[in-house]
C-alpha cells in the first residue's frame, strides 16, 4: 500500500494540502494544520515564488469557523412543524432513508418520474463528490426526473458569447498574464477585487496597472476594483450599458476610428449594426448625447472613452456576467464583443474577446471530469439542439432556473411542462438564490410537496424540507478540483478530518439509497469494475489495485479519464501530495488567436464562419426584444417604467465579498469584517432621513427587507446595492430580517435565457434611526 507521505511536526501537527470547492472562481490551495483530528489553523499557498503564489482570500481564511460552526448540521432531520418554521427533529439515517424510499416509490408509481424535480447548483465542485451527479445518477437509475434549464450566473453571457462566436464557444478569456501586454483595461461591470474571477486576478490587475496600463472602471458603484486600480471611474445607470457601448460605436464610426480591415475580414453583419448606430435603421443616431440621457454618463465622457479605446492598441475591454443577469441579458456582452471587433482587439495579445465569461481552456472547471450520471428517460428524447442557442427551445421539457418555484407553484396549469410532487435540492440554496424569495417560500410551503435537501447547514431552502440530510464538507473529502475561469491549475483536495456527527458524503448517501431501492451496480466498488472493463481504461487496473481506498482509486481513475489531466500530470502522487498542479503556459493564452492568425483554416463555429455582429439565427426568431445585433432596448423595471413612481430606486445585487453567494453566511469573522449593508447615495439617503447605520426597509410588490444603510458616495444616485447571499429570514410581519436581495428581485428570464436578477425597482424608507 502506498501511503501519502505525512508531514507531522514535533507538536503533532500534520499539514494537509487541499483546496476549497466553493463556487467562488478560485480553488485556492490551502494548508490545513491538523492536530488530534482537528483543523487548528489554515495557511495558504507556500510556493517559493511569492509573486506566483495562489493566495487564498478572506473566505478560506475563515474556514475553521465554517468547519466547526455550531450550526453545522450533524444529524439527519425530519420536519416537525409547518414548512419554513425551522422546526425539525433528529432522526436516524435508517428512518430518513425509509421515508425517502417510500416517497420516491409512491411518487413514481402515482405521478410518474416527471413529477420528481431535481435541482442542483454550484455549492460544491469536485470530480468525485459532486453531489449534483450522485443524485442524478440515482434518480436516472429509477427512470429519471424533471429539472431546470439555465445557469443562474452566466446564462446571459453565454447567450451573448454563443450568438457572436458560435455554439459551444465559452472560452473567451485571455490568461491573466496577458494583461502585461495591454495599455488600457476597461473593467465594465466587473469587480475582480470582490468577486474571485480566478485566484490572483486582482493581483494581475495591480501588476498590469503598475506596468503602465491605464485602468477605467465603468460601474454604478465605485467598486473596490475602482478603489485600487482605476485611473477613472465612470458611474453608469444599471441596465443601460448597451446604450453607452452603442454610442461609443457611433463616435468610432463617425470619426472613422474603426479597424475596418478586421471588420471586413472576420465579422458578419457589421453593416446592419452600423445602420442602427448611425440612425439609418430607425432615424435615431445613437450619439453620445442620446446615450447621456439614458446612461447618466456625460456625452463628453462617452466620446473621450470611445476615442481612447479606439486609439489605444492593444486595449482590453473586460465585461462580465453581472450586468447580463438582467432583463436584456447578454446584449451587453454582445455590445462589448462588437466594440472589441471594431477596434480589432479580438484574438490579439493585450486585447480581449469580451463575452463576460473570462474562461481559458486550461484546467477550467467546465472541462472537469465526473462519473457520468447516465441517461434521463423521464422525458422522450427531443430533437437535437446542437447549434441552436434559443433558450425557448429548451423549455419544452424543462423550466428556466429562475422560474423553478413558479413551476412548483403553478405546474402544468401555469404552462410548465410538469407538476412537481417530489422536490430534491442538492448543493444549492435556491429559495435564497433565485428571484422572488417570498414566492419561493410559498411554493416550498405547498403541503402536498415532499422535499429532500442534503445540506451542511439549515439554509433557507433546507428550512422548507421534509427531510434534511447532513453531508460532509470539503475538509472531510478528497477530490479533484478546478478553478474557473482562470488558473490555470488543477487542485487536489485531501481529506483533513473525519466527518462530523453523522455526516455522510453525497455519493455514499446515493449508494445507500440505491441499495434500499434495489438498484444494481451502483456502488463505487461495482462501478469501477465496469469502468475498468473499458479497453482504454483497463491498463490502469494494475495500478489501482495497489490502493485500498475506493475513493483513492476513483480519483486516480478520474485523473486518467480527464484528457487534460492525463496530458499534464505525470506524477499523480506528487500532484496529490502538493494538492496542486500548475499548468505552465509557454505564452499567455489569447482567446481566438488561432482563428484570427489563421482564419482560413480556423473559421469561427458560427453559421457564417465569422464573428457574428449580426446573428441570422437570432434574427430568425423574430423577437423584438431579442435583437440580432447588440441594441439598447428599454426593459421593465428600468428608470422609465411607470412603476418607478412607486419604486424610484434601482436595486443591484452583486456578489458579496464576505461570502460565496449564500455560503459562509453564518461565519462571524467574515460578517464582522464586512457587515451586510445597503449602499445608498447621500442624495437618496438625505431626503429619506436615512443616515449611516440606520435600519431601513427596502421594498417592492414582491417583498420587504430590513437592512442597515451604508451611506456612501461610491454609488450612483438612484441606485441601491444589496449584496446577494444573505439568508432569507422573514419575521412575523413578512419582513425579511436577513435582507436577502432576492426577496426583492423578480423571477424572470431574459430572452437570451439570463436570470433577470439585476433588473429591479424598489423604494427605501427609514425604519429606525440609530443602530
Amino acid at each position: 500500500m502506498v501511503n501519502q507521505e505525512e508531514n507531522i511536526n514535533d507538536e503533532g501537527v500534520k499539514i494537509i494540502r487541499t483546496t476549497s470547492a466553493f463556487d467562488c472562481g478560485g480553488r485556492c490551495p490551502l494548508r490545513f494544520h491538523v492536530k488530534d483530528g482537528k483543523v487548528i489553523r489554515v495557511e495558504g499557498d507556500d510556493s517559493a515564488d511569492s509573486d506566483n503564489q495562489l493566495r487564498a482570500c478572506l473566505r478560506c481564511r475563515s474556514i475553521r469557523q465554517y468547519i466547526y460552526h455550531p450550526e453545522r448540521l450533524r444529524y439527519p432531520l425530519k420536519r416537525a412543524g409547518p414548512k419554513g418554521s425551522g422546526k425539525f427533529e433528529r432522526i436516524t439515517w435508517d428512518e430518513a432513508y425509509d421515508i425517502i424510499v417510500e416517497k420516491l416509490k409512491e411518487t413514481i408509481e402515482k405521478y410518474g418520474n416527471q413529477s420528481i424535480l431535481y435541482i442542483t447548483g454550484g455549492g460544491y465542485f469536485g470530480a468525485l463528490h459532486g453531489a449534483g451527479v450522485a443524485y442524478a445518477r440515482l434518480l436516472n437509475s429509477l427512470g429519471g426526473y424533471s429539472t431546470s434549464y439555465g445557469n443562474i450566473s452566466s446564462q446571459g453571457a453565454i447567450f451573448g458569447t454563443q450568438a457572436s462566436y458560435g455554439f459551444g464557444q465559452i472560452f473567451v478569456g485571455n490568461s491573466r498574464e496577458d494583461w502585461m501586454n495591454t495599455k488600457l483595461i476597461i473593467c465594465w461591470g466587473w469587480d475582480p477585487a470582490r468577486q474571485i474571477s480566478g485566484t490572483n486576478t486582482l493581483w494581475w490587475l495591480i501588476k498590469a496597472k503598475e506596468n503602465g496600463a491605464k485602468v477605467i472602471v465603468i460601474d454604478p458603484r465605485y467598486s473596490d476594483t475602482a478603489l485600487v486600480a482605476a485611473d477613472q471611474w465612470i458611474p453608469i445607470i444599471p441596465g443601460t450599458d448597451t446604450a453607452m457601448m452603442v454610442a461609443m460605436a457611433n463616435v468610432i464610426l463617425r470619426e472613422n476610428l474603426q479597424d475596418q480591415e478586421f471588420l471586413d475580414k472576420y465579422t458578419h453583419g457589421f453593416d446592419k449594426y452600423k445602420a442602427y448606430v448611425l440612425g439609418d435603421e430607425d432615424g435615431i443616431p445613437k450619439t453620445p448625447e442620446w446615450a447621456e440621457k439614458i446612461c447618466g454618463v456625460p456625452s463628453s465622457t462617452i466620446e473621450n472613452l470611445a476615442r481612447e479605446y479606439a486609439n489605444t492598441k492593444p486595449a482590453a475591454l473586460e465585461d462580465c456576467q453581472g450586468p447580463a443577469r438582467s432583463a436584456m441579458g447578454g446584449q451587453y456582452n454582445r455590445g462589448a464583443i462588437t466594440l472589441s471587433a471594431m477596434t480589432g482587439n479580438i484574438g490579439k495579445p493585450g486585447g480581449s474577446a469580451c463575452g463576460g465569461l473570462h474562461g481559458i481552456p486550461y484546467g477550467h472547471m467546465f472541462r472537469g471530469i465526473m462519473i457520468p450520471p447516465g441517461r434521463n428517460t423521464a422525458w422522450p428524447k427531443g430533437k437535437s439542439l446542437r447549434g441552436n442557442i434559443n433558450p425557448r427551445d429548451r423549455l419544452d421539457t424543462r423550466v428556466h432556473v429562475n422560474k423553478i418555484f413558479d413551476a412548483i407553484l403553478n405546474g402544468k396549469s401555469g404552462g410548465y411542462p410538469f407538476d412537481v410532487k417530489f422536490a430534491w435540492f442538492a448543493v444549492c440554496d435556491f429559495v435564497n438564490q433565485i428571484g422572488n424569495a417570498n414566492k419561493s417560500a410559498k411554493a416550498m410551503s405547498r403541503e402536498d410537496l415532499f422535499t429532500v435537501v442534503p445540506e451542511l447547514w439549515l439554509t433557507p431552502t433546507a428550512q422548507y424540507a421534509d427531510i434534511v440530510l447532513p453531508v460532509t464538507g470539503f475538509s472531510a473529502r478528497s477530490d479533484l478540483t478546478r478553478p474557473w475561469p482562470s488558473g490555470p491549475y488543477f487542485g487536489h483536495m485531501n481529506k483533513a478530518i473525519e466527518p462530523m456527527g453523522e455526516c455522510k458524503d453525497d455519493i455514499q448517501i446515493a449508494e445507500e439509497l440505491a441499495e434500499r431501492l434495489g438498484i444494481k451496480n451502483f456502488k463505487r466498488e461495482e462501478l469501477i469494475e465496469q469502468y475498468l472493463k473499458n479497453p482504454q481504461l483497463a491498463p490502469v487496473k494494475g495500478i489501482l489495485d495497489k490502493y485500498d481506498d475506493i475513493n483513492d482509486k476513483w480519483l486516480r481513475l478520474l485523473a486518467v479519464m480527464g484528457q487534460d489531466v492525463r496530458e499534464n500530470i505525470e506524477d499523480y502522487d506528487k500532484y496529490k501530495k502538493e494538492g496542486l498542479h500548475r499548468i505552465e503556459l509557454k505564452e499567455p493564452y489569447v482567446a481566438f488567436k488561432k482563428n484570427i492568425d489563421d482564419f482560413e483554416k480556423n473559421p469561427f463555429p458560427t453559421p457564417s464562419g465569422k464573428i457574428e455582429i449580426y446573428s441570422d439565427q437570432v434574427a430568425s426568431w423574430n423577437n423584438p426584444i431579442c435583437p440580432p445585433i447588440a441594441k439598447y432596448i428599454p426593459t421593465w423595471e428600468n428608470r422609465d417604467d411607470p412603476l418607478a413612481e412607486k419604486y424610484p430606486l434601482q436595486l443591484i445585487s452583486p456578489h458579496p465579498r464576505q461570502r460565496v453567494h449564500s455560503e459562509l453566511y453564518k461565519i462571524e469573522w467574515l460578517m464582522e469584517a464586512i457587515p451586510h449593508r445597503m449602499w445608498i447615495n447621500p442624495a437618496d439617503a438625505e431626503p429619506r432621513d436615512i443616515r449611516n447605520g440606520d435600519m431601513c426597509l427596502v421594498s417592492n410588490d414582491r417583498g420587504t427587507v430590513a437592512i442597515e444603510a451604508f451611506v456612501t458616495r461610491r454609488i450612483i444616485p438612484g441606485v441601491v446595492c444589496i449584496y446577494e447571499g444573505a439568508w432569507y429570514n422573514p419575521d412575523e410581519n413578512g419582513i425579511d430580517r436577513g435582507a436577502c436581495a432576492n426577496t426583492l428581485t423578480k423571477d424572470a428570464m431574459s430572452e437570451g435565457g439570463a436570470a433577470a436578477l439585476k433588473t429591479c425597482l424598489v423604494q427605501v424608507i427609514l425604519e429606525k434611526g440609530g443602530a
Binding site: R55, R61, A193, W203, W669, E672, P682, R714, I716
Partner: protein
C-alpha cells in the same frame, strides 16, 4: 535590530484577508476586537471621490508608550528584534487596571470601551488617565503630545479651564479630585517644544473662520490637520477672543496664551487680525472669494445690563467691555468703590481686576447665596483674600443717582431665584425693605450675547444667539457654519473648543460631499459610571497649588498660580486611580491594543506573529494579502527595498516613538 511592516496603500483593496488570517492564526474569537484593523476613508463629492483603506496593527514603536503606562509592566520590547510583546499573564494581574464595576454597571459594562468619568465629563474627551499616567512615569513630552492629539490649547486649559472633569473624579470618594487641570498646565509649561512643522495642504479647499476665540482656534486646528487651508479673520488687534479680551492676565499670562496660538499658527493657520468681517454680505463674499466654507465663531461680547433705573448712568460699566479695555491696554476710569453685579467668573474677574487697578473697596453682589454662586470656589476664595466683599442673595431695583453720577445700588434681600424658559428671573423676596450698597462705579457682569443683529443670513434666537440647524450646524446659507458662544450662548473655553471641533467635522463632511446628518451613538453620562474603589486605597492628599500671596498680587497682574514642581506633578499624577483601565489603548497612537468582551479580558495586540517569526516565517497577514500590499522585514531591508519611511496620514499624534511601518500612500 528593528523589524517592521511595509504597507502599500495603492494596492490595498480592503479585502480583509489579512484580518481574518490574523484572527485564525491567533485564535481570536468573533467580535469586533481584531489585531489587524482596516480603516476605510472616503473623500470628495460624487462622482469625484477618493477612497482608500489603511491597515493599522501594531507599529512596534521604537519607544512603546504603551509599555510606559502599563501599571503591571505587561508590555515589553524584545531587544533582539524590536517586537513589542504582551505578557498576558501579567496584564491586569497585580494592579487592577480599570475599576469600573462590572456587577453594578450590568449590560452597559464593556471592558476597554467604557471611559473614566473624567474623560466622559470633558467636553473634548481628553485621555485624562492616560496623560496623567504618562506624567506619573515622567513622560512629560508624550503626555503633552497625547493632549495635543485632542485639543490645541493645553497651556490655556491647564490654567483657566472650568475642569468639569474634576467634578466627577472618582478619587473624590477617597480624598479629593486629581488636579487634572493643573497637571495639564504642568506639562504645557515644562516641556520644551520645537515649533511644529507646517502641514501640507492636501485638500483643495480653504476654510475661512471668523473669530479667533477658542472655538475658532479649535476648528482651525482640526481643519488644518485634515489638510485644508485655514484663514482666521479677527476683528480685534489680538488673537484669542475672550482669552485675550476677557480673561485677565493674572490668570492667563499672555506669553502663555501666545505659546498655544503660535503652535497653531506654525501648523499653517493664518490669522488676520484687525479684520472685521461684515456679518451679512461679508460672509457671502468669502464664499465667493473661493472659501469652501465659512465658520462664524464670533463669541458673545455684548454685555447685558439690567433694565433698572439708572443703568445708563455715567459710572455704570459693562463687564466684557471693561475687561476688554483693560486687557487691550485702554484707559478705564474707575472710582474707589466699585460694585460688580453678577456672581459668575466674569464678575470675579471684574472685581479682581478693579482691585488691581487701584479701587480700594470692591464688592460683588449677586442673586445667589454664596454656596450657589456660579463662580469657581477658588476664584471666590482668592477674591476674598484680596479683600473683595461678597454681597449675596440680593436682587437689584435701581442704581442711585447723585447728580448724574452713581451713588450706589438699591437692593432687596431674597431667599431664592429661578429662571424661566425665556431667561427671566423670578425671586422670593424676604421683605420689601430696600437697602443700599454704596458705590461710585457699578459693573454689570450678568451675561453676554453676540454682537450681531438679524439679517438675511443670520437669524437671532430669543436668547440672542445665532440660530442654526442643530445637527448640521449650518446657517440657512449653504457653506456657512457656526460654533462657540455665539451659537450656544456664553459657556466656557472647553465647551467652545468642543463646539469648534464638532463644527469642523461637519465642515469636513460638507466639503467632502458627505452627509452632514449622522446618528450619534447614545452617550453614557459620567455619573452613570460606577467605580469600585478598592477598600485598601490609601488616602493621599491632593497637591495644593502654590499661589502668590494676596499682598504680592493685589497691585499687579502677575500670574497668581505658580504651577507644580516636577515632584508635585508626579506625586499628584500617581494619585490617579485609573478608573477605566486600558491605558495602553489610550496612549497608543494607533489604538493597537484590543480587548475582547469577557471578564478579566487581557490586552491583546499584534505580536508580529512571533511564533512564526521565530521559525523564519513571515507574519500571516503578510502572507495572506493577495494584493501584496503588505511586507515585513527589518527596517533596513524594507527601506532599501521600498525607500524611506513615511508616516501614515491621519496619525498626526506626534509621539516621539518612531513607527515601524513604512508606508506608501495612495495619492489623489
Amino acid at each position: 535590530m528593528q523589524v517592521g511592516f511595509y504597507f502599500d496603500q495603492t494596492r490595498c483593496a480592503g479585502c480583509n484577508a489579512c484580518r481574518v488570517a490574523c484572527k485564525d492564526w491567533h485564535d481570536q474569537p468573533s467580535g469586533s476586537a481584531s489585531w489587524m484593523r482596516i480603516n476605510y476613508q472616503e473623500e470628495g463629492p460624487f462622482p469625484n471621490i477618493f477612497a482608500s483603506y489603511l491597515i493599522s496593527n501594531c507599529y512596534h514603536c521604537e519607544e512603546p508608550v504603551c509599555a510606559f503606562v502599563c501599571p503591571n509592566e505587561a508590555i515589553s520590547k524584545r531587544e533582539e528584534d524590536g517586537i513589542v510583546v504582551v505578557d498576558k499573564d501579567k496584564c491586569r494581574e497585580e494592579v487592577p487596571c480599570g475599576l469600573i464595576s462590572k456587577e453594578k454597571m450590568g449590560a452597559s459594562y464593556s471592558y476597554g470601551e467604557l471611559q473614566a468619568p473624567c474623560q466622559i465629563a470633558c467636553p473634548v474627551h481628553l485621555h485624562i488617565p492616560a496623560y496623567t499616567a504618562l506624567i506619573a512615569k515622567g513622560k512629560f513630552k508624550e503626555s503633552l503630545d497625547l493632549i495635543r492629539q485632542r485639543m490645541p490649547l493645553p497651556s490655556v486649559c491647564g490654567r483657566v479651564c472650568l475642569h468639569p472633569c474634576e467634578e466627577v473624579c472618582a478619587r473624590k470618594d477617597v480624598d479629593q479630585a486629581i488636579a487634572i487641570e493643573a497637571l495639564k498646565g504642568f506639562v504645557a509649561d515644562n516641556v520644551s517644544e520645537e515649533p511644529p512643522k507646517r502641514l501640507l495642504q492636501t485638500q483643495s479647499e480653504k476654510v475661512a473662520i471668523i473669530g479667533s476665540g477658542p472655538a475658532g482656534l479649535a476648528a482651525a486646528y482640526d481643519l488644518i490637520r485634515m489638510g485644508y487651508g485655514v484663514t482666521i479673520f479677527e476683528a480685534s488687534s489680538r488673537a484669542g477672543g475672550m482669552l485675550v479680551a476677557g480673561i485677565p492676565e493674572y490668570r492667563l499670562p499672555r506669553d502663555v496664551l501666545n505659546r498655544d496660538i503660535d503652535y497653531i499658527k506654525a501648523l499653517g493657520v493664518e490669522i488676520k487680525t484687525n479684520t472685521l468681517i461684515d456679518l451679512n454680505q461679508g460672509l457671502e463674499d468669502l464664499l465667493k472669494q473661493g472659501y469652501g466654507a465659512v465658520l462664524v465663531a464670533i463669541g458673545a461680547h455684548k454685555g447685558k445690563r439690567l433694565g433698572i433705573p439708572g443703568a445708563d448712568l455715567d459710572g455704570v460699566l459693562v463687564g466684557t467691555s471693561f475687561m476688554r479695555d483693560v486687557n487691550l491696554g485702554k484707559e478705564v476710569k474707575l472710582g474707589n468703590k466699585v460694585l460688580i453685579i453678577g456672581g459668575g467668573n466674569v464678575a470675579m474677574d471684574c472685581a479682581r481686576t478693579a482691585r488691581r487697578l487701584g479701587a480700594t473697596e470692591v464688592g460683588v453682589s449677586c442673586l445667589e447665596c454664596c454656596d450657589d454662586m456660579p463662580a469657581d470656589i477658588l476664584e471666590v476664595d482668592q477674591a476674598r483674600e484680596e479683600g473683595i466683599q461678597i454681597y449675596d442673595s440680593r436682587s437689584f431695583t435701581k442704581i442711585l443717582n447723585n447728580n448724574g453720577k452713581v451713588a450706589g445700588v438699591g437692593c432687596l434681600e431674597i431667599t431664592g431665584c429661578t429662571f424661566d424658559d425665556d431667561g427671566e428671573a423670578h425671586f422670593d423676596v424676604v421683605s420689601d425693605e430696600e437697602h443700599t450698597l454704596e458705590a461710585d462705579t457699578v459693573i454689570f457682569a450678568i451675561g453676554q450675547v453676540p454682537e450681531v443683529s438679524n439679517s438675511s443670513i443670520i437669524k437671532i434666537s430669543k436668547r440672542g444667539t445665532i440660530t442654526a440647524d442643530s445637527e448640521t450646524l449650518m446657517l440657512g446659507t449653504k457653506g456657512l457654519f457656526v460654533a462657540g458662544d455665539c451659537f450656544s450662548g456664553i459657556a466656557s473655553i472647553i465647551d467652545a473648543i468642543a463646539s469648534g471641533q464638532k463644527t469642523a467635522s461637519k465642515i469636513h463632511r460638507y466639503l467632502q460631499g458627505d452627509v452632514l446628518r449622522v446618528r450619534s451613538s447614545p452617550e453614557i453620562a459620567a455619573t452613570e459610571i460606577i467605580i469600585d474603589i478598592p477598600p485598601e486605597t490609601e488616602k493621599k492628599e491632593r497637591q495644593s497649588m502654590p499661589l502668590l500671596s494676596a499682598s504680592e498680587r493685589v497691585s499687579n497682574f502677575k500670574e497668581v498660580t505658580l504651577g507644580f514642581s516636577e515632584e508635585a506633578a508626579i506625586t499628584e499624577a500617581e494619585r490617579c486611580l485609573n478608573c477605566a483601565g486600558h491605558l495602553c489603548k489610550d496612549v497608543c497612537p494607533y489604538s493597537a491594543p484590543q480587548f475582547v468582551e469577557e471578564e478579566k479580558a487581557r490586552m491583546q495586540k499584534c505580536n508580529y506573529c512571533v511564533d512564526r517569526f521565530d521559525i523564519g516565517k513571515q507574519p500571516i497577514c503578510v502572507e495572506a494579502c493577495y494584493a501584496r500590499a503588505l511586507d515585513s522585514g527589518t527596517l533596513e531591508e524594507l527601506k532599501s527595498k521600498y525607500g524611506d519611511i513615511q508616516e501614515s496620514p491621519g496619525f498626526s499624534y506626534s509621539i516621539s516613538a518612531k513607527p515601524a511601518i513604512l508606508f506608501k500612500p495612495k495619492k489623489k
